[in-house]
């Protein structure tokens, strides 16, 4: 091949090589560009995930106030002494290096072929001993492991991770010692607890003393330098100035890690450290959890390879939750609870016009402050044994007894069975079928009209006219008043198991036909009728307003909306004279009838008492299966312009308890009416002044 | 002999000491208005313009150490800045009049202002809020410091020079007697 040919061939090779290289470089550039421009977001995300951490802080919950603005649930600060680990990093490091030096110095003193006695002279007694096949390894102080084979040293080693943890712990213990010296405590910190925090919550402060007393808090503030790594960390716990008052209505909170509020918080893809927040568990705390819960605070930190804070990238302060104002009147509530202290009972008082719940008391209850910041097992069991968890006003199901006679009357009047002239001869019993149904007065009430029948609570009158009205009409009327369904008050776990029995129910549930005797029982609020005290309070308020429904609310209605409240029911469907008969009967009950123990001179009260019998169904109770009495009271006042409706239900706890609506519940009602009207007139006087 | 050799150094040290005390007293009285006046440049005037380089540097170093011990400034601030100022003065000493003059005043004012600004910047890291809120008071202090330097700078330099001249006469006199 000539030189020229050779040169040409070589040129071709060079061109080919250049082309190949060019293609590779273009591909390389293209792929670089693709990663830089197209996949930029993906890499940015990866980088963020690796180098950024998010801390979520809880926001203080909103407060709960009563109708006059007094605080029912507030926040109380809780202080703890914490240490921010990133601030002691240098100390960790220098302590570790010092420990390494010390260990190395010790290790150098141990030479092969030394016996255990010689080693012990240098290192002291061992901490741990581990035997293997042909060797024994002793761990001495400073995590120095010395392995003996055939009785002499064969190997020495140091577990550096142990040394590192110990160095960190030394620093932490030094600071804890400082706190102990100032506060006089004797707190200790375990390696396990510290390791867990270090590995999982490095960015969060490590609590050295979780709950400081006021004195300890003051001492630390006064005596710790401002730039100390020990800081006073403040969070909030719920605080209940009225202790157990309205405990079931207010509810309590449980500790839970702060949650994202979905979308608003940036950095949701980042590794997140969450501080402990609170979540409503029952009562208003649960119903209005979203409103009471504020917006959590957020910090985004750039971290170093070890995971310590390096730079604050973004910070949003937590926002206070919204406060709510309940309709509860705390004076009345406290008084009501005092009146039923030591009993199993429920009281509900409603504003007749607005349906606002003024009182919702249930005993036994619990001191809310015992449940904050957390519920101990002992407290939980104590409340459970007392039956305190049950809100009897909204969850307790009871036969309404004679208070149901108001409904039977309304049904009878509307069916035109009961009318003003209708006179009934009460002989002390009513024979229905083959069975005699007794009146509570065995001598009978003789000639009796509806007004006296209500006033004296004549059972036979209502057996007679109840049967005449028929179960279909009584049940229909009860349903018209909403006694078959929950009231819809803004409290969680209101029972749905209330019962207005009728023929269909009997056939479907028990598989039996309906007999007149069943109607007679239902007519006096016995049998299978089951209602809650809150339902009966709504029923009372509805009757007082001559309507069929009352929509109860535990949230205070603003003044401008008070005159425009729609409860959603119909008119009661009685003419003035017909309604007057009921009103007169209820008023006479107070004047000379069964409810006369609630009489207050100068205040016209319309009321109906009831005494029902119920079988104890609590298997844990010593009186299981025995018959217990229930004392009922429903009433409203003043008669001409009703403003308050009260319902009381007191459970007998012993078969020997002779609880009666008239003697047990009526005096409680009298005290409550008195408190209510005294406060009202006091207010009027203050306003006038 | 030794005294003669180091008289400039001793006089500069004494003068700086007295001036420090006077400034302390002035600041004590101004404290009621939250004002502190600082004129670091004045302490290097004489040393920078008249003393031998090493002697001047030593004066500035010692004065810096005294200042650092007396004032709550960042560790070693004056120990570093005063020798640096001395270095600058020494560098320009051939172009400046040893007794002072406009050039000296201007340089002293510039260096003093620079040092104070540096000091304020280094101290501002301890602020928990925006420096803007404090700017009026800081500017007032800067202005008053500069004014004080302007008013007493040359006098202070002159006093030191005169003290040296006086001591020289005495030394000469003493020497004359002995011979």
């Amino acid at each position: 091949m000539s030189g020229q040919q050779k040169k040409r061939a070589s040129n071709w090779r060079i061109i080919t090589l250049v082309c190949i290289c060019g293609i590779f470089f273009t591909l390389l550039l293209a792929s670089l560009a693709f990663r830089q421009f197209v996949e930029r977001h993906e890499y940015r995300d990866k980088e963020n995930r690796q180098t950024k951490r998010r801390i979520l802080q809880p926001a203080p919950r909103g407060e709960i106030h009563e109708r006059e603005g007094r605080l029912l649930v507030g926040n109380q600060s809780r202080h703890s002494a914490v240490i921010y680990l990133d601030q002691v990093r240098k100390e960790f490091r220098s302590q570790y290096l010092k420990d390494v030096r010390d260990t190395r110095a010790l290790r150098e003193q141990i030479q092969n072929k030394m016996t255990y006695t010689e080693v012990e002279k240098v290192l002291g007694t061992f901490i741990k001993r581990k035997e293997e096949d042909q060797s024994v390894t002793f761990t001495f102080e400073k995590f120095l492991n010395v392995t003996f084979e055939k009785g002499v040293v064969s190997r020495t080693s140091v577990k550096s991770s142990d040394l590192q943890w110990e160095a960190r712990l030394k620093v932490i213990r030094r600071y804890l010692h400082q706190i102990n010296q100032i506060t006089g405590r004797k707190n200790v910190v375990s390696r396990k607890k510290f390791e867990r925090h270090f590995n999982n919550k490095l960015l969060l402060p490590f609590a050295l003393v979780p709950k400081l007393t006021a004195k300890e808090y003051a001492r630390l503030l006064d005596q710790l330098p401002l730039d100390s790594p020990i800081q006073i960390f403040t969070d909030s716990t719920r605080y209940y100035p009225y202790h157990s008052a309205a405990s079931h209505s207010l509810g309590y909170v449980v500790v839970e890690e702060v949650e994202d509020d979905g979308g608003e918080l940036n950095g949701q893809n980042l590794k997140t450290f969450r501080l402990q927040g609170k979540k409503g568990k029952t009562g208003l705390e649960l119903s209005f959890n979203d409103r009471l819960d504020g917006t959590p605070g957020r910090e985004i930190w750039r971290v170093d390879p070890m995971g310590f804070q390096f730079e604050l990238v973004d910070k949003h302060l937590p926002k206070f939750g919204q406060s709510i104002q309940t309709s509860l009147d705390i004076d009345l509530q406290v008084q009501a609870e005092k009146l039923i202290e030591g009993k199993k009972a429920a009281i509900v008082a409603l504003d007749v016009q607005t349906g606002e719940v003024l009182v919702l008391a249930s005993k036994p209850d619990y001191n809310l402050n015992d449940l904050s910041p957390f519920i101990s097992t002992a407290v939980y069991k104590k409340i459970e044994n007392q039956g305190g968890w049950l809100n009897r006003a909204t969850q307790g199901l009871y036969p309404p007894g004679s208070t149901f006679k108001i409904l039977t009357t309304i049904a009878g009047i509307r069916r035109q069975v009961i009318y003003d002239g209708a006179v009934y001869q009460c002989e002390g019993f009513e024979k229905i079928g083959e069975r005699k149904y007794p009146c509570h007065n065995p001598r009978g009430h003789f000639d009796i009209k509806i007004q006296r029948a209500l006033a004296l609570s004549c059972n036979t009158y209502f057996y007679h006219f109840g049967v005449k009205t028929g179960i279909d009409h009584i049940a229909k009327e009860a349903r018209r008043f909403g006694l078959h369904e929950p009231t819809g008050v803004q409290l969680p776990y209101e029972t749905k198991r209330m019962l207005i029995p009728d023929k269909q129910w009997k056939r479907k549930r028990i598989g039996e036909g309906w007999a007149s005797g069943h109607t007679a029982n239902v007519a006096i609020g016995q049998g299978d009728v089951l209602v809650t005290p809150l339902q009966m309070a709504c029923f009372t308020a509805s009757v007082a307003r001559r309507q069929t429904r009352t929509r109860p609310t535990i949230i205070r209605i603003p003044d401008e909306q008070r005159n425009n409240i729609k409860h959603g029911g119909d008119a009661i469907g009685l003419s003035d004279p017909q309604f007057q008969q009921i009103l007169t009967g209820m008023e006479q009950a107070v004047q000379f009838g069964t409810a006369q123990l609630c009489k207050i001179p100068g205040i016209r009260i319309a009321a109906k008492t009831g005494t029902a019998q119920v079988k104890d169904s609590d298997r844990k109770s010593p009186t299981f299966g025995e018959k217990l009495t229930l004392a009922w009271f429903i009433g409203f006042a003043p008669v001409d312009n009703p403003s308050i409706a009260i319902t009381i239900c007191v459970e007998g706890t012993d078969p020997n308890d002779n609880y009666q609506g008239g003697t047990t519940a009526a005096p409680i009602a009298r005290n409550l009416f008195w408190t209510y009207f005294a406060k009202k007139s006091q207010k009027r006087l203050t306003k006038r002044d | 002999m030794l005294l003669r050799q180091y008289k400039g150094f001793l006089i500069a040290m004494l003068a700086n000491g007295f001036l420090s005390l006077a400034l302390t007293e002035l600041n004590h009285h101004l404290a009621g208005w939250s004002i502190t006046l600082l004129i670091p440049a004045i302490f290097v005037l004489y040393a920078g313009l008249n003393l031998h380089y090493l002697q001047g540097l030593t004066v500035c170093l010692l004065t810096g150490l005294f200042h650092d011990a007396a004032l709550p400034v960042p560790e070693g601030f004056f120990t570093l800045t005063l020798p640096t100022l001395h270095l600058i003065f020494h560098h320009f000493r051939s172009k400046l009049h040893k007794k002072g003059g406009l050039g000296t005043i201007l340089l002293a004012q510039t260096l003093n202002l620079g040092t104070l600004i540096l000091l304020h910047i280094s101290l501002s890291s301890g602020l928990t809020e925006s420096i803007v809120r404090h700017l009026p008071l800081i500017l007032l202090q800067l202005f008053l410091s500069q004014l004080l330097l302007f008013l007493i700078g040359l006098y202070f330099l002159d006093i030191q020079r005169k003290a040296v001249t006086l001591t020289r006469a005495r030394f000469v006199e003493a020497k004359g007697r002995s011979t």
Binding site: Q57, A59, P60, L71, G74, N75, S77, A214, K215, Y217, A218, R219, L221, D222, Q223, P225, L226, D227, T234, D235, S236, G294, G297, L317, P318, K319, F320 | G17, S20, L21, T24, E25, N27, H28, A31, G32, W33, S34, I35, T36, L65, F66, D68, A69, A70, L71, P72, E75, G76, H120, L123, G126, L127, T128, R133, H134, P136, L137, I138, Q141
Partner: protein
């Protein structure tokens, strides 16, 4: 340079010049003395009369305090309460003040030789001055209550809830300021209804009830849990010539 060397250097240079400050302070006292010497007899008589009146009032107060002290002792014994911490008041003249945007300090003419301890409280007739920051042989540095690195526990007069005060750099000439933090949200203050802050004995540094300053505005803190606001300290705080250092008396003494 290693920290121990830096510290030693600073300390030795401090101690070296401290006598000159003391001398300056003595000279100032002497100047005052001669200044008073030149006052006329009439002026002195008037001053003496005023002083006598003041002394009379103080004597009464001392008697009242003594009876209260005895009552307190009786109640403590009755309830078996631990005794309140006792303090010895070490009066100290101020050699000089260092107050500016950046620092809030005073140097006093009492030091280690007089039993002064670091962290001890410093008071004057108008209330709290600060705490002893550093103790030297014959002098001590006091960190004023207005220093941003100062923190102490306080309460509103008549209340027991512990709050804390932190110094705050004053942006105006000669107005000593601080910030009160951890005030419960239920506290409402206004110019017409300001709150008076007093010291709390809970912290163990100061006795309770010493006047601190007034607060007339509060705003929600950043975490929403508390309120906080500016505290105005007495205006003579920056013009003091003499203070009292609280030296705790050991229980066994």
């Amino acid at each position: 340079m290693p920290i121990p060397i830096k510290k030693a250097l600073r300390k030795s240079f401090y101690e070296f010049q401290a006598p000159s400050w003391e001398a300056l302070s003595w000279a100032r006292d002497l100047q005052n003395f001669w200044g008073h010497r030149s006052e006329s007899h009439a002026e002195l008589i008037q001053e003496g009369r005023d002083l006598a009146r003041l002394n009379g009032a103080y004597r009464l107060q001392v008697m009242e305090n003594e009876s209260l002290r005895l009552e307190l002792k009786r109640l403590e014994a009755l309830l078996d309460l631990p005794a309140q911490p006792n303090f010895r008041y070490e009066i100290a003249r101020i050699t000089h003040r260092q107050i500016s945007t950046w620092w809030h300090e005073m140097i006093v003419r009492k030091g280690r030789e007089d039993g002064i301890l670091e962290g001890a409280g410093v008071v004057y007739s108008g209330g709290i001055v600060g705490k002893v920051q550093t103790v030297h042989a014959g002098t001590s540095v006091i960190r004023l209550v207005t220093s941003p690195s100062f923190r102490m526990v306080a309460t509103f007069q008549g209340d027991t809830q512990p709050l804390y005060i932190q110094g705050w750099q004053s942006a105006s000439m000669g107005t000593p300021l601080g910030r009160i933090r951890n005030v419960p949200v239920s506290v409402h203050l206004s110019k017409e209804n300001p709150g008076l802050l007093v010291s709390s004995s809970l912290g163990g540094v100061f006795p309770s009830g010493l006047h601190l300053g007034t607060v007339d505005q509060l705003a929600q803190s950043s975490n929403g849990l508390f309120k906080e606001g500016p505290v105005v300290f007495p205006s003579d705080l920056y013009r003091l010539n003499e203070v009292a250092i609280l030296v705790p008396i050991q229980m066994n003494n």
